[in-house]
Symmetry: C2
Subunit: 191 residues, 2 copies
């Protein structure tokens, strides 16, 4: 068996969370609504760091929930890079997505080493449950969180419970559309 240089060096792809939350830390309200994400007018189509993110990743990992939500939007498939959907339930993807969407199943470190062997260097980790499970195993390298100026008062939390504290280094903060505060954090690990 021949190991790639990547694998020999034990390199894992760089994992990045890019997501929007309410001021009280929800990614959807109690009814699952995300209409509030569009509440701030964006007349000039500011990409709010999404374009930069797309330069920094070469694949996306999302949970089944997020994948099915995107499918239900009934729009053209919005991603230009491969999407890996974590699911033990799904067995197939629609024919027209067969070169764009791939199903994965298993422990997260196995999934990361599988994607590492495929040569991916940057992974966009998306979806509430998926983000929480990666964080629970301390497998996120970078957080890019956009906070919207609204208190929802309830809903689905971005962050879940953790066994241990996770410390981060603040990298940069930008304000978009005068209203959205996006902060980037890099995981602070003992070297």
């Amino acid at each position: 068996m021949i190991f790639s240089l990547y694998q020999m060096e034990g390199m894992k792809p760089h994992t990045i969370v890019y997501i929007a939350q309410s001021l009280d830390g929800y990614i959807a309200d109690s009814d699952g609504n995300i209409d509030w994400l569009e509440a701030i007018p964006n007349p000039n189509g500011d990409m709010m760091g999404y374009d930069v993110l797309m330069q920094d990743v070469d694949a996306i990992i999302m949970g089944r929930g997020t994948y099915e939500t995107v499918l239900a939007f009934d729009i053209d498939w919005p991603y230009q890079i491969p999407v890996y959907v974590l699911s033990s339930k799904l067995k197939t993807v629609p024919e027209h997505l067969s070169s764009k969407v791939f199903l994965l199943n298993g422990k997260l470190d196995f999934i990361l080493s599988t994607l590492s062997k495929k040569g991916y260097q940057g992974l966009y980790i998306d979806g509430g449950k998926t983000i929480q499970s990666f964080l629970a195993e301390d497998l996120i390298d970078e957080l890019r969180i956009t906070t919207l100026p609204i208190l929802l008062g309830g809903g689905s939390s971005l962050f879940g419970t953790l066994e241990n504290r996770l410390a981060w280094d603040h990298v940069t903060t930008s304000v978009y559309l005068d209203q959205l505060v996006q902060s980037h954090y890099r995981r602070k690990r003992e070297s």
Copy 2:
């Protein structure tokens, strides 16, 4: 009965929350610890907006929990302006604080109109439960929230549940000590 101009105009004091939270929205960890608030070195004693806050308020409202926590620090009383402690349980304050600490009890709008009649114009609302109860009645005008780069994974949440969404206007965001992100929001009310 003579009404002050303030009262006649129905003016309520401007209420400001100034507080620090973890990246996952906690103000204390699961054991009530706030040691992580001091994790970022502050060699030059940056006031991180506290000095500005003190120019904007002329009294403090806090709950019994916060008051007793401050008392337990066993330091000189740290506030230069009057502190109103919300409690139905406490009946007296220590002799040496009798000109600095005052007990209040009752509905929040009664408390605000009481303090309005005393001429206060800016109130610093402090303490988790107190903040949540003011927000639940939409009685907060301004939020000044400092986020620290740590995921605690559990603890006491800054924000509680709300019956209705509350929209805010982002006013300004500053980064302190390269690590702490402080955003100011003003309540967006229909005029």
